[in-house]
């Protein structure tokens, strides 16, 4: 917790984006989380990604549940819409909001407790429904806000601060997401913004359900020796399989990647997603082999990061349901309530 407000003064050479804004214009209130919490770095990465994409803050809605992680939307994009909902229930609120207005960017922030314990059911169904949003789990393997109980993503054998090991199998939310229909799945680390920021940019531009499992150490309750989610452990045990860069134009700019290692995917808004494979045997666009590789590396206790899975022709819930292009929220009463005669005809069709 910091009591001094962050000075408004900024570096005189801070870059401005297409909207003429600096990164500082995307900040929120000063964080009240513990000093050193990984969640603050995730917030900083979101700020940077939104700035680099020149996203107007008022076109973003931030949604969250309950937890230290779920508090963070207050600490970024201070000029965006926000809804801090009930523990584990962010997916419902996100679904409703997205149904009502398909034109906003939706950023969901959740925790491993929020999404893998109390909210696991909600999580599974928002993935299935492919709500067009960026869903971030700040994964620290613990219930930070309630002072350090093991969460459902905590690895079996990983110990508490007092040395007691966790007895249960962990849930791998990324793997679940791939299995049940997410079209963009990545894992990253709060301490590696060089990887995280481009992934977030790609996720924000992805027109489908994009899921990011971000390992984000809890300095207060899960950063000790024996924990598999400490800064030191994650640094020593993770490796990336594939990376994503977002290039603002469609002109493929040649860069010096090893032949075959870089592939460009055209994005609907005219930008290019550049996929960089770091291992020859890994194809992030093949759901089956992706899951296979993940399983095998999980067994070995290796933390796999980067872009894990991408469906480069995604669909979202609105497409599945065939809703109108215009946001429902901006339709008038006449369009939304076509009247009792029309209802009669519909009902008759079911008889």
């Amino acid at each position: 917790m910091t009591f001094v407000a962050k000075p408004k003064t900024h570096h005189p050479k801070l870059p401005r984006n297409e909207l003429g804004l600096t990164r500082r214009d995307y900040e929120g209130a000063v964080s009240t989380l513990c000093a050193g919490c990984g969640h603050d770095s995730v917030s900083a990465a979101i700020i940077q990604a939104c700035h680099e994409l020149s996203i107007p803050a008022h076109r973003v809605a931030k949604l969250s549940g309950i937890g230290c992680s779920s508090k963070t939307p207050t600490y970024f994009l201070g000029k965006s819409h926000g809804f801090n909902s009930v523990h584990g229930r962010m997916p419902s609120v996100a679904t409703g909001a997205n149904m009502a207005n398909r034109e906003l960017y939706y950023i969901g922030i959740s925790g491993d407790g929020d999404s893998a314990s109390i909210g696991l059911g909600q999580f599974a169904h928002i993935v299935r429904r492919r709500i067009n949003m960026t869903y971030v789990v700040d994964n620290n393997g613990t219930y930070g806000l309630t002072k350090g109980q093991f969460s459902a993503t905590n690895d079996k054998g990983s110990t508490s601060k007092k040395g007691v090991p966790n007895l249960y199998e962990p849930i791998d939310l990324a793997m679940m997401a791939i299995q049940i229909g997410a079209t963009f799945v990545a894992r990253s680390f709060s301490g590696d913004k060089e990887q995280l920021v481009p992934l977030l940019k790609a996720a924000l531009k992805h027109e489908g359900f994009a899921f990011l499992d971000v390992i984000s150490p809890c300095v207060a309750f899960n950063n000790h020796n024996g924990s598999t989610k400490s800064y030191e452990y994650v640094r020593g045990h993770s490796s990336a399989l594939a990376l994503a860069d977002l290039i603002p134009t469609r002109d493929a700019i040649e860069v010096d990647y090893a032949p075959g290692a870089a592939e460009d995917v055209a994005m609907p808004d005219g930008s290019t997603l550049r996929l960089r494979k770091l291992r020859d045997d890994y194809d992030p666009r093949n759901r089956v082999t992706a899951m296979d590789t993940l399983m095998r590396m999980n067994e070995k206790g290796e933390i796999v990061t980067g872009l894990l899975f991408l469906d480069d022709d995604p669909s979202d819930c609105h497409e599945i349901l065939g809703t109108v292009d215009e946001p429902l929220a901006s339709l008038g009463e006449a369009e939304l309530c076509p009247g009792s005669e029309r209802l009669e005809t519909i009902n008759a069709a079911f008889r």
């Binding site: 001094v4 000075p7 408004k8 003064t9 900024h10 570096h11 770095s41 301490g191 300095v219």
Partner: protein, 592 residues
């Protein structure tokens, strides 16, 4: 890059831009904090220790600290460092208890100081507490040098001058005032253990133009004329006055003329406005007093008719910027201009002049008549004779005189003890003291005020033009002083990094409002400067580079350039790898 050696006193000293730029290295942020705490007496003494004349300098200093102030780079205008010095002087209490004690028992060494300007006075102040017997010889009846004879009372009131000059004289200087020294040999023959020459740069430059001799009764050398005003020999100037020159002397001459009854006053300068030597604020004040400044007009001749000055001819030129950035003046094609005037004040510079020093005493002089000295020790070719102030390297200002004096006093002390004036000099040092008081509490006020620089109130213009003794600037009152003080960034409270504690959580990087901190792979400096959170494009400002970090093969790099010293990095660091520590730079003085 190699890890930064923060035990090198210069490293953190350079971060305190104002202190580094001050010739006497006054601990500026320290006294500004004391002003915020309304501890004016202590703030005054911090100044008195390093620059000797806080009340005088708080009104007249050349302020090399201000353009150096970090606020110029983070916001726009520097902290009003000089005016805050005056706040300390104006509001101080009784300082007697803080003054150094002068030993009853002398050390048996006798020192002669020639001249009673700021340089000699500061040497005396440094040596008296060590038991030296200091004899001061001055041609004028009173001490102060050019601070008395040149700086007009509307900038420096007499009581302020006398208070600080007398303070030193009363420490026990043996005064021989009204006595001109005419022979160095004779002085040395009196058996002094060392001689300090603080005679200034006393000769005003003249202008050898057609008509100069005939016009002589109507022409005055600026510094001589100002001296005669200061000593009360001149109290009026009639008719139209032209002042030649673009430096501070010219500004004092024109503003003084304006107050002594001149019908009109104008300043004519051979060069362009931007390159005039006068300080920005001096030019602004002259213009505000309605004095026109004519630039690019080199003087050609004086015109005298019937034994009376009629006026002067000037050429018209225009500046052309050359490849090396310097200005060259070429004729503008306009016809010469004639400016009518009854008096001309020539203020085009001063020269050193020591006819009283015999040339066979080992003291050599260069072609500008400046003595050849060792720049560090200020010792001349005659080991007993030391120089300082304007007499050393040509005309400078009061703060340089104090700075020279401290160095010369150290040399004199070493010399008198039979030590080596170079090898035995006390070294500079740095102490670092943590400012942490609690979880989020620092013993300094870490929040700065981003407000623009506060304006200082001025006396009513017509009133101040009516009387040369009315001080133009009124100074900040306590309230405004406190507000201006809050603009200071506390650049002496340093960010100190301990790499072995760092877990690379990025909290400091994320919170830093100025993007100073980066964790990255080490590289050569030039390359590193371009691989930071924000490009480090100011090579005058150092990069603080840590040793290798424990968990990755990266290093921490901090660009000192625009750090606000807000302490947020240290507040957000979970492990205490960052700490805010006050750097106290020990600038050696004789007694320290």
């Amino acid at each position: 890059m190699k890890p930064t050696d923060i035990t090198d006193p210069n490293y953190f000293h350079k971060v305190v831009d104002c202190q580094w730029a001050c010739p006497a290295h006054t601990p500026v942020p320290e006294y500004i904090r004391l002003i915020s705490q309304e501890r004016y007496t202590e703030a005054y003494m911090v100044n008195w220790d390093s620059n000797v004349f806080p009340g005088i300098l708080g009104r007249t200093c050349d302020r090399p600290c201000e353009p150096a102030c970090r606020r110029v780079r983070t916001e726009e205008k520097p902290v009003a460092i000089c005016r805050l010095k005056r706040v300390a002087a104006d509001h101080k209490g009784d300082i007697r208890d803080y003054l150094p004690r002068i030993p009853e028992q002398k050390n048996g060494k006798r020192i002669a100081c020639v001249g009673a300007g700021p340089a000699s006075l500061a040497v005396a102040r440094d040596l008296l507490p060590m038991g030296y017997e200091v004899h001061m010889f001055e041609r004028d009846p009173k001490g102060g040098g050019m601070m008395r004879s040149q700086i007009p009372a509307f900038r420096l009131p007499m009581d302020v001058l006398e208070e600080e000059v007398n303070l030193i004289l009363e420490l026990g200087v043996v005064c021989h005032f009204g006595q001109e020294i005419t022979s160095m040999q004779a002085l040395l023959d009196q058996g002094f253990d060392a001689v300090f020459v603080g005679t200034g740069a006393p000769r005003g430059r003249d202008l050898d133009l057609p008509g100069r001799a005939e016009a002589d009764p109507f022409i005055h050398l600026g510094i001589d004329w100002l001296a005669s005003v200061a000593f009360g020999h001149t109290d009026r100037i009639e008719g139209k006055v032209v002042v030649l020159g673009g430096g501070n002397t010219a500004m004092d001459c024109c503003r003084t003329s304006r107050r002594l009854g001149a019908e009109s006053v104008q300043v004519v300068v051979r060069s362009a406005f931007e390159v005039m030597k006068a300080s920005e604020w001096e030019k602004e004040e002259a213009i505000a007093e309605g004095i026109p400044i004519l630039n690019n007009r080199p003087p050609k001749s004086f015109v005298v008719e019937d034994g009376k000055l009629k006026g002067m001819w000037f050429e018209c030129v225009e500046p052309v910027r050359q490849d090396d950035g310097r200005l060259k003046y070429v004729p503008s094609g306009e016809a010469d201009v004639f400016i009518e005037c009854d008096h001309v004040l020539i203020a085009i510079g001063q020269d050193n002049h020591c006819p009283w020093i015999e040339r066979d005493l080992g003291i050599e002089f260069d072609r500008w008549d400046c003595p050849v000295l060792d720049a560090e020790t200020l010792q001349s070719g005659n080991p007993k004779v030391f120089f300082g102030g304007d007499s050393a390297f040509g005309p400078e200002n009061i703060i340089w005189a104090s700075a020279h004096a401290h160095k010369a006093a150290i040399s004199i002390d070493l010399f008198c003890q039979g030590k080596d004036v170079k090898a035995d000099r006390p070294p500079e040092g740095v102490n670092l003291i943590s400012q942490k008081m609690g979880m989020h509490e620092w013993s300094y006020d870490s929040e700065h005020d981003p407000a623009p620089r506060y304006h200082v109130p001025h006396a009513d213009l017509s009133r101040s033009l009516s009387n040369i003794k009315i001080e133009v600037e009124l100074g900040f009152d306590r309230h405004l002083g406190a507000k201006e003080a809050q603009r200071c960034l506390n650049c002496d409270v340093q960010t100190v990094f301990t790499e072995k504690l760092c877990i690379e959580c990025d909290a400091c990087v994320d919170i830093c409002p100025m993007d100073c901190i980066t964790f990255t792979a080490n590289r050569e400096e030039e390359e590193l400067r371009q691989h930071l959170m924000a490009p480090a494009d100011n090579p005058a400002q150092d990069l603080y580079v840590s040793g290798d970090l424990p968990d990755t093969d990266r290093v921490m790099v901090k660009d000192e350039d625009v750090c606000l010293h807000c302490g947020l990095c240290a507040e957000r660091c979970p492990t205490g790898a960052w700490d805010m520590q006050k750097s106290i730079i020990n600038i050696p003085q004789v007694h320290a």
